[in-house]
Symmetry: C2
Subunit: 299 residues, 2 copies
């Protein structure tokens, strides 16, 4: 049994009927489970989360483009969030029984088919990117929908699939594969914002810290404490426990204790198992020993 998660972001956050119609279209695909639909009117954008095996997810994504392209016109779209297409970005995430390589393959297959079927330019990003210059979504999206006509003729911005000019109403789309994001915060038993900011600087990649950590320090005013707020972009490469231990150690250097940590939203079971195995110094442990995994594999 394999599970891939897919989290398309569409450029519609206001017309509930359009959003619900697209979500219903996903639900109608056998083997697909829609886990979440979040809309933001100010961003004029919705994030859909669904899961299934590769075949079901592929069918659902094609259905998504078929529904979204005629319903969303970027020429009249205005919102706070940057975007370059009706279906702005569509990542595949390996959850269970699949590898990142499987998700990269799926992203390329789906990308080729979306381009052919809808005459839509497709960029591949993150793990599915053809070149390092295309790994980051922000680089691909710079200039947004309005800048596509000028950007796409440049040789370095030729799309991975599809025409070298934007779709008139749907722009372009970015498809890829990435690890699940974990939103992880550590609260410190102090009101000293400088300590939280110094720790964030120490642990995030951009300033020399861990490869797969984004972090900032902020004040939780109502509680009189500060927080190191993080996104962990690849828990296999940069595990939660290592980040936690370094945050704790850096805080101690300022005489500050960790009050607690928190996971916001969902976390893959493996990220917690990994932490348990580290702290309990478990030798030769493998995920087949988790009773629920054994049960699922016996299905």
């Amino acid at each position: 049994m394999s599970i891939i998660e897919c989290i398309p972001n569409i450029s519609e956050g206001r017309r509930q009927q359009v959003i619900a119609g697209i979500a219903d279209g996903l639900r109608a695909v056998p083997g697909v489970r829609v886990l979440d639909v979040q809309s933001d009117a100010a961003h004029h954008r919705s994030v859909l989360t669904f899961a299934g095996d590769a075949a079901a997810v592929k069918q659902a994504v094609l259905e998504l483009y078929a529904l979204a392209i005629p319903a969303i016109d970027l020429r009249t779209h205005k919102g706070e969030h940057p975007r370059l297409g009706a279906v702005d970005v569509c990542p595949f995430v390996p959850i269970e029984g699949v590898t990142m390589a499987d998700c990269v393959t799926l992203a390329r297959e789906v990308g080729a088919e979306v381009a052919a079927r809808f005459n839509l330019p497709v960029y591949l990003y993150e793990e599915a990117a053809a070149t390092p210059a295309r790994r980051n979504l922000e680089d691909i999206r710079r200039g947004e929908f309005e800048g596509l006509s000028a950007k796409m003729p440049l040789p370095e911005w030729a799309p991975d699939f599809g025409p070298t000019m934007p779709h008139a109403s749907a722009g372009a789309t970015v498809i890829g594969a990435r690890m699940p994001l974990i939103a992880y915060n550590v609260n410190l038993a102090t009101d000293r914002l400088d300590v939280a900011k110094k720790i964030a600087t120490a642990i995030r990649m951009s300033s020399g810290g861990f490869r797969c950590v984004k972090a900032l320090g902020l004040a939780l005013g109502d509680r009189g404490i500060v927080q190191v707020s993080m996104n962990l972009t690849n828990y296999e490469k940069t595990p939660i426990f290592r980040v936690f231990e370094v945050v704790k150690r850096e805080a101690a250097r300022y005489g500050v204790n960790v009050l607690e940590s928190e996971i916001v939203g969902l976390v893959p079971s493996a990220a917690l198992t990994q932490a348990a195995a580290f702290y309990l110094q478990l030798e030769d442990f493998n995920s087949d020993q988790v009773l629920e995994n054994k049960l699922r594999n016996a299905e």
Copy 2:
């Protein structure tokens, strides 16, 4: 979706055809997954492990008794392991989406039906026991099959269901509910067996330690180290992490380090999540945040 695990022990460990026939009978029940079949010829006993929801597990257990009773005759059964019945013991274990109370209810329902359908005396044990004197399997089983005729007429050993005399060939049976067992060992970076034995004494219930720990100290001769070998009988009441931390602290008192720990066989996901939450100081974490749980609940 709810999952109950059932681990019947039958008094047949030699005739592979009988054992396979019973396992196939379980597999034929819709919704039942057989996870493991272990036979021991010297013990003349087999342990079957299967899982499903309450209705499927109940149907499978009734099928088990229907197949085992005519096939196994205790009057000619000789093995190293103590036993009082053809189906010697049958525990129900809550795994997911069910409570211990649900498993107790199931044990009583199944017990009443087994007694009525097969005219077999049934004792309830562990969490399903009607009185504290019947919690321990060893107490119920003392005297074994051969002692039943003398033991059962005693008022304190009247069965919970069924006749007050043993079944001629199948004896009696013990049905109940318990938490999953976790076989957990901590290896110490020393060859001093006295240290492992002292730590085992400190942490096991029988000598004043944790309520849900059985432990002994033993030497791993081939590796030149010693081990604290444990059974954790209820990880909710006595969590793995607390046991590990105390073993580590007691070892330090003798100047000994923990080398590693190990889980033998299966462990419920919740027991590892619990350890991760402890060490990461996770606040307000609940199991719905585990991606796989969310996916399963969306089914």
